[in-house]
């Protein structure tokens, strides 16, 4: 029994039953496959988290985000600037107690270099309802190249516990669809 010493002193030489052996091989091969699939997704997939990150003092990051917001602000919503950066540019987002700042307005199908950091505690960037979830640390500026594939209004909630106001910490990203004319012009420009 499993609660008594093995009856054969040299249990290592006992034969293994066929069903056990097959299962060990299946489990091993499945593991190798899943391991390989993570590597493969870096080549065939479009969703891979970048490791690009920089150490930065929270105050320096805060200043950078403010400068960015002033430069590209298009309007305000409940006292929070709505910022519309040009496609392909560097975009800055800040997590702090308890808001995501500023509100961003992006274009569908365009890529942006999104910088994220926190100025106080850890926060969780959670883009909804798309469901992209990334951890945000104070002192680390994480850079992700992001391409929205759907238009509309998206919420950012915080999913790392950050104190008593955690459940009030939200933000917003608008994704606009280009009008047909703008899109044509863009395509035309690319053709030249």
């Amino acid at each position: 029994m499993a609660v008594t010493p093995p009856s054969e002193r040299i249990w290592w030489n006992e034969p293994i039953s066929r069903v056990e052996l097959i299962w060990v091989v299946v489990a091993f091969l499945w593991g190798v496959f899943m391991f390989g699939f993570m590597i493969a997704w870096h080549f065939i997939g479009q969703q891979n988290l970048n490791k690009e990150a920089y150490r930065i003092a929270p105050s320096a990051y805060e200043a950078k985000v403010e400068q960015f917001a002033n430069l590209h602000k298009v309007r305000e919503e409940k006292g929070v600037p709505v910022v519309k950066p040009p496609p392909g540019s560097d975009v800055y987002l800040l997590g702090r107690l308890w808001q995501w700042w500023p509100i961003l307005e992006l274009e569908k199908g365009q890529s942006y270099r999104l910088h994220i950091s926190s100025v106080d505690w850890q926060h969780g960037f959670s883009l909804q309802p798309t469901n992209i979830n990334i951890q945000v640390h104070p002192g680390y500026e994480h850079v992700i190249t992001l391409t929205p594939t759907g238009a509309g209004e998206f919420g950012i909630i915080c999913n790392e516990f950050c104190g008593i106001g955690h459940h009030t910490m939200t933000g917003k990203i608008y994704v606009t669809e280009k009008t047909a004319k703008q899109a044509d012009a863009g395509l035309g420009a690319q053709g030249k």
Partner: protein, 575 residues
Amino acid sequence: MTAETITGVGVAGREAPYRTCPYTGLKVDAAAQTLIKVNAVAAVIFLALGGLMGLLVALTRWPAVHLLPADWFYLILTGHGANVLLFWIIFFEIAVLYFASAILLNSRLAAPKIAWLGFVLMVAGAALANVAVLQGDSSVMFTSYPPMQAAPHFYLALILFAVGALLGVGVFFGTLVVAKDEQTYEGSIPLVTFGALTAAIIAVFTIASGAIILIPTFLWSIGLIDHIDPLMYKVVWWGMGHSSQQINVSAQVAIWYMIAALLVGAKPLSEKVSRTAFLMYILFLQLASAHHLLAEPGLSSSWKIVNTSYMMYLAVMGSMIHGLTVPGSIEAAQRRNGYDKGLFEWLRKAPWGNPAFSGMFLSLVFFGFIGGISGVVLGTEQLNVLMHNTLYVPGHFHGTVVAGTTLAFMAATYVVLPLIFQRDIIWPKLAQWQPYLFGIGAAGISLFMMGAGTLGVSRRHWDMTFTDAELPFAHSAGAFLMLGLNGVFAVIAAVGGIIFVLVVVGTVLFGEKVTSGHKLKFPLFPTGGAVVSHYGSAGTLRLPGTAVLVSIFFAAFVLYYFINWKYLSELWLFR
């Protein structure tokens, strides 16, 4: 401790008081028996406390009930994590270690005084942690990520508890040495003891990681260190936080084998395969710290892939092997017991009315199907971004730690009560239903939290309606439904938990004394005992039922794995 062990050998050792178990013929060391009792009782007390806190959490997250105010919710959630994930489980594990060493090896316990010191430290630590949490200044969650800071005595409490647990683990190792030295058994240690040894080795790694991170964090909280890097903290803290879950896995698998052996006379299909599977845990499970770092900045993909997969999923392979060998050994034993018809007579005629068996088998099924599969998916480098820090995460670990480990420990308790406490279970009819209620409740909690997480609901979050947020956000109706169902199943699990505590307390205090000649029987089947004495030849084993069960499991695994990749491919693009 070493000194005590050495002086004990040969003199006090052989004279240590003991009784002889009427069922197994094993010597039951008096000191070991008392220490198993006190650790098990402490475990159940913290289960009751932490379980109650869990119910309050679930009732607050149930949108229609929304029981606690926000500050109390975060406070109680911190207490829930510490009490059940640390205190209930580790007290019980210390009891399991003493059982698997002193009792199963027919030996005296090494250094009982050190074991008592460990117990006192653990009780002091657990009590102090509860004081710190209830004072309200330490609502930092179980993970206590800096720069958020708890009161100094919160960290101190965890350190005290860990030191106490380490002493207990040391006594376990000491007992193995004593038993070997005094030749209380022949040949190799039993498989269950081997599993417990696996748990103990991982525990040393785990507690060392905890010390490396909690001691500086404690010094930071009293102002002696001015900065704790939040990313470094997570790497080391999860060396404790996740690895400690691997102690649970090893202990729980050892218990599966133990209950299968004691109840139906099961023996390992192959000692070599089962022990190698445990060895995979020792070698690779500690890499799982990476599971909590897949959504972090600055870590390379190659580091993430190697670590999160436990080096090509070799530890997952270990669990998949146990997933076949445990039901396989039951099938083999049951067929020898005479239930040899068709594919599943062995399973149908299994002792489902015995709470130790039903709890053990449900734990096996839920751990594999819910906790295991979701764990691999959650721990896949890219898929993690779909679920990181959503309710999917607690959904996963309630599948492993509640429906898996806690249910297995409850099942083990139904064996420990008659064998160690020597009391017959009072209210056996109620006890019979208990594992089903608790197991189904826990499985429901896991599944519905995973569902809510898939729909984007955050974990550790008081208000999914975002009523007080400046910028409003609304979750889908489906997410609200999931948390309502989660609340209903939490109530079912709580009923199961309350029955468990009542049955245990009632049995310990008022249960009929089990003396020799009592009606109680181990193993349950008269023929079970006959197969115990010799090692089966692998050629005679026929396990068609188990082959069907693992095939269903494998199909579910593959299907769910690829569904999540499909879901990932529909996200915004990022690189």
